[in-house]
Assembly symmetry: C2
Homo-oligomer: 386 residues x 2
Amino acid sequence: MKIGRKSMITRQWAGTATKTVTWRTSVVQGLLDITPGDAEEIFGDLRADRRRFVVADAELWACHGDQIALFLKRLGIEYGEPPLLLPGGESAKTRENADRVIAEMDDFGLGRFGGVIGWGGGVLHDVLGVAAGEYRRGIRGGITFVATTVLCAVDAAFALKCAVNGNWKNRVGLYSPMNSVCDPVFFRTLNDVDIRDGFAEIVKWALAGDGHLFDLIEEHGARVANEKFQRGDSATRSLLTRPIAVGMAELTSNPWEDETARPSYLGHNWSPVFEPSERHGQAVALDMLISAMIAWRKGFLSRADRDRIVRTIGTLGLKLWSPVLEDRELMRRALWDAALHRGGRQYVPLPYQEIGKVTFCELTETDVQRGCEDLYGYVAAEFSQS
Amino acid sequence: MKIGRKSMITRQWAGTATKTVTWRTSVVQGLLDITPGDAEEIFGDLRADRRRFVVADAELWACHGDQIALFLKRLGIEYGEPPLLLPGGESAKTRENADRVIAEMDDFGLGRFGGVIGWGGGVLHDVLGVAAGEYRRGIRGGITFVATTVLCAVDAAFALKCAVNGNWKNRVGLYSPMNSVCDPVFFRTLNDVDIRDGFAEIVKWALAGDGHLFDLIEEHGARVANEKFQRGDSATRSLLTRPIAVGMAELTSNPWEDETARPSYLGHNWSPVFEPSERHGQAVALDMLISAMIAWRKGFLSRADRDRIVRTIGTLGLKLWSPVLEDRELMRRALWDAALHRGGRQYVPLPYQEIGKVTFCELTETDVQRGCEDLYGYVAAEFSQS
C-alpha cells in the first residue's frame, strides 16, 4: 500500500486477542472456622497444589497472626513461615514494597501458575495486586485476598484496579482480578480512625447510587461504627453488603474504566491531593463535602439534602474541614490531573436531585472556590452554635 | 451457603470482564518520507491530538536523531524536545529505567488517553511497554514503536509481552499491545554484532516453524547480514518478513501464553542464564545448538540436519561455544525456572523429523549434559580440521 511520496508498507500483520477475567467478592462469617473440605471456593484447589505465597499486614498479624497461622496449617497450606509482613497505610503503597513482594515471590519459587493469599487492608491489596500482576507477567494461579479492613472490603477488594503511588497517588498500576473475602471478625481490632475511613467509602457508594443505603447510614452509621460491625443485625449487614452491591454493579458494567463518567469518582476528584496530609477516608469525605456544596449552589440538590450529607459525615466522626482545602493551587491541579485521566474532561460527579443520583459536570475554579467557601461557612455557623 | 462448621458466606458477588486488544506490525520502506496525510495509519489520529510522548534509543538518536526530529516536526507532532533518550542493551532493561519513563510521562502531563512513540531496539521496546502499561494503569492512546534493530523487528516488536529484568531475566512485566513498524533503513547503522543478534532470532523462527526460511538463511543469511538488509532483493525481504509471519501466527493463536508448549520457546530454555555474559542473540544461538544436539541424540533429527543447523549458525558469525555452557548448576536452574514458568513441566521444544518442526520434551540432567558434550565434540572436531 502506498502511504507517501516514496514510502510504502511492504507487509503488514494484525492481531486481535481477547482476555476474559473473572473475580469475586464475598462477605463471610467465621472464615477461620472453614473446614479443609470447604476451603476450595475461597482458597482454590488445595489438592492439586498446596503451596501458596502468603503476605499479610504486619499490624493484622500482630493481632490475628497466631490464629491465621493455625488456620493455614489446618487447611494444609504450605507457605514460607512467617509470611511476608508489610506495613499498611498510604506511605507503604510504594513501588519499593511491590518490588519487595516480587523479590520474595522469586525467593519462594512461585511459578507462573502459582497461587497467592493476602491478608490486610487496601494498601496491601494494591501492593500485592501490582506485584502479582507483574511477576512473570501476571500469575495465573489466582489471588485470594482477605480484606481485613472496612475500607478495603467496601472498595479496593473488588475494584479490579490496583496501583502504587508515584509522583501522584495511584500513578502506577494495573488490573488484578482477585477472589476477595471479608469477615467482620477482623474489624474488631481496627481502631476508630480505620472504621471512620471505611465509612467514608460507604457514604460514597450511597451518594453514587443507593439512596436507601444513605438512610441506613443516617440511622445506624454512628452506632455500627462504634460497634465496629460486630453485631449481626440487619442494619450492620446492610452497611457492609449494600456498598459492595452498588460498587460491583458499576464495576461490572465498566471494568476497564473505558467510560470516564463514573459515579464512583464521587469523593475522588480532589482527594488525591488531600493525601497523605489526610487519610484516604477523610480525604474522600472532604471531597464529598465540597461536592455537596457545589451541587447545592448549582441548584442540583436541596439545602435539606445537602445538610443531611454534611451532618451524616460529621456524625461518623469525620472532620468537616481541613487546612488542605485552603490550597487553591493544589485543588486546581487535582482537577487538571483528573481531566488528564478522564480523556480531557473532568466528569466530576455531583449529587443530583436526590441522594443516590449524580450528574457529571465541568467545574470552573470559581465553582470550586465557592464550594469551599460554602463549606467553610457551614462549619463556622455550626461551630458558633455549639 | 454453608461452607463449614460455623462459617458461612453471607453474600457473594461475581464479575466477568472481557478485554479485546489489537496490535499490528509492519515492514515499511521509507518511513521518514511519509507525508502528514498518510501518517495516521502508523502514528494515529494527529488531528485530534498532536501531542505524543516520545522516547528513543540514545545510540539511534546519535545516528538518526536529526532526521527523526525533522520528520516529527513535519508531521506536526508535539513532543518534549529532545525526546527522552535511554540506553539500549540488556543492562538497561531495568525497573529503574521503566520508572524513569513513567516519571517523564508524568512530567510531560501525559493523559490516560494520550499516545506514545518509541524508536529503538528490543530493550527500549520492553522498557517502554512496561512503563506505558503501568502508567495510569495503561495508556489508551496507543503506542507506536519503530523497531530500529533486526532483533526487535523479528521478535519483541510484535510479541505483546514486555518485561524488565529482576532477579531473573524478564521477571517483571505485562502485555502491551503496540503498533510497531520497522524500516531496514535504520539497520544500516547497526554494528555487525547487532545484526548477528537479530539473525539468531530469525534462525529460531525457522526452526520453530518455517523450513523454507531455514533454506533461505542457509543460502543468503551471511550475505544479507553483511549487507545489513540494505539490498532490496527478494531473499533480503523474506529474511525479514517470514520470521514475522511465523511469529505472528504463533502469537495470535496463543497471545497470553496460556498454552505453555510453545515452539518459540526454542532457543529460550537455557538462554536466560547465558545472559548477560552473552548477548541475547548469542545466548539464543547457544541454546539452539544444544537443542539440536539433544534432538539428534534422541533420534529426532538426522545428523545431516543437525549439522546444517550448527553450520548455518556458524556462518552467521555466531559463536558455537561459550564457557557459560560449562556451568551445569546454572543450566539446571534454567530448566527449573522454565518449568515454574510453564506450569510445572519444561516443554522444551526440540527440532523434530525435519527443520521447521518441533516436539516438546522433558529433559534429564544427563540429556542436557550429553547435549553440551556433543556440541563440544563437534566444535573441537571442526577446530582440529581447520
